[in-house]
């Protein structure tokens, strides 16, 4: 009886072996494909120097694009001033080269609009340049690239970037006292550079 059961089990194993082998081969073939498409194991090794190198490249790119005065401003003060292109009131139309308002462009902070002649703070525009590709999680641009993106957007199509931004009164994200201090630093910086002009617009 025992011998008969053993023989039966042996026959069953022999019959089932091809099916089991085929299933194993299919599973092995599917496994690498699944791991490469799911992205679960697609982890980049952390490179501590990557962000620093990206920022260095971004600074060089910014320097090669903006005016020498704007580059010096960013290098020394950490922000860039961009002149507004519109008139705020009818009386502003006869101002010539002097803009009625200007923007302070900070890295990864809202753009601040203000009146250069009085120092009055007008509003802050929250704008960001998010990763649209959907790859690699939520990253942001290096600081100098963020400034360059804002500079390019403001000098080429001010209305479009301002329309897309969320506008708030100054004080929502930025400390007004700190912005006023930056305006004072800017005035001192210009005085030291011997720049007698009130505001040299980025686009006249």
């Amino acid at each position: 009886m025992l011998l008969a059961l053993l023989a039966l089990a042996l026959v069953a194993i022999v019959l089932a072996a091809p099916i089991a082998l085929r299933r194993a081969a299919e599973w092995r073939a599917r496994r690498p494909a699944r791991s490469s498409t799911s992205g679960e194991l697609d982890l980049e090794l952390y490179d501590p120097g990557r962000e620093r190198r990206a920022e260095q490249r971004a600074r060089e790119l910014l320097r090669s694009c903006v005016n020498a005065e704007e580059w010096g401003m960013y290098r020394d003060l950490g922000f860039i001033r961009v002149a507004g292109r519109h008139a705020r009131r009818e009386i502003d139309r006869g101002r010539g080269a002097r803009p009625a308002y200007a923007y302070l462009v900070y890295p990864h902070k809202p753009i601040v609009a203000y009146v250069p002649e009085t120092g009055q703070l007008l509003s802050e525009y929250c704008v960001e340049f998010p990763d649209l590709t959907g790859h690699g999680g939520r990253h942001r641009l290096p600081a100098s690239d963020d400034v360059l993106a804002k500079w390019m957007a403001l000098t080429s199509d001010e209305d479009r970037v301002i329309r897309r931004a969320n506008m708030h009164l100054v004080g929502r994200q930025l400390d007004p006292a700190r912005v006023r201090r930056d305006l004072w630093r800017l005035a001192e910086w210009e005085r030291r550079r011997g720049n007698r002009q009130q505001v040299s617009p980025s686009r006249r």
């Binding site: 090669s64 704008v127 340049f129 990763d131 690699g136 000098t155 080429s156 980025s202």
Partner: protein
């Protein structure tokens, strides 16, 4: 400009060479299809100051441009 990486060279070539130009056009369109904005740093002929010029078509790129910079489109932060 690529978030998390900074500046990335996408394509380069001489637009006067047909093969290069086709490659540049293809990359230009691909970037715009992905939702990027394209800008060219230019010098204002009046003031001499530098500024950017947005381009929406390959044909809009000023012929003497050395580069086109693609960056993610702005959104409210």
């Amino acid at each position: 400009m690529k978030p998390g990486h900074g500046e990335v060279l996408l394509a380069e070539g001489d637009p006067r060479v047909q093969e290069d130009e086709e490659r540049l056009i293809e990359e230009f369109r691909r970037q715009l299809d992905e939702g990027m904005w394209a800008a060219v740093p230019v010098r204002n002929p009046g003031s001499g100051r530098r500024e950017a010029q947005m381009v929406k078509e390959y044909a809009d790129i000023p012929p003497d441009s050395e580069r086109v910079i693609f960056f993610p489109r702005a959104s409210g932060g």
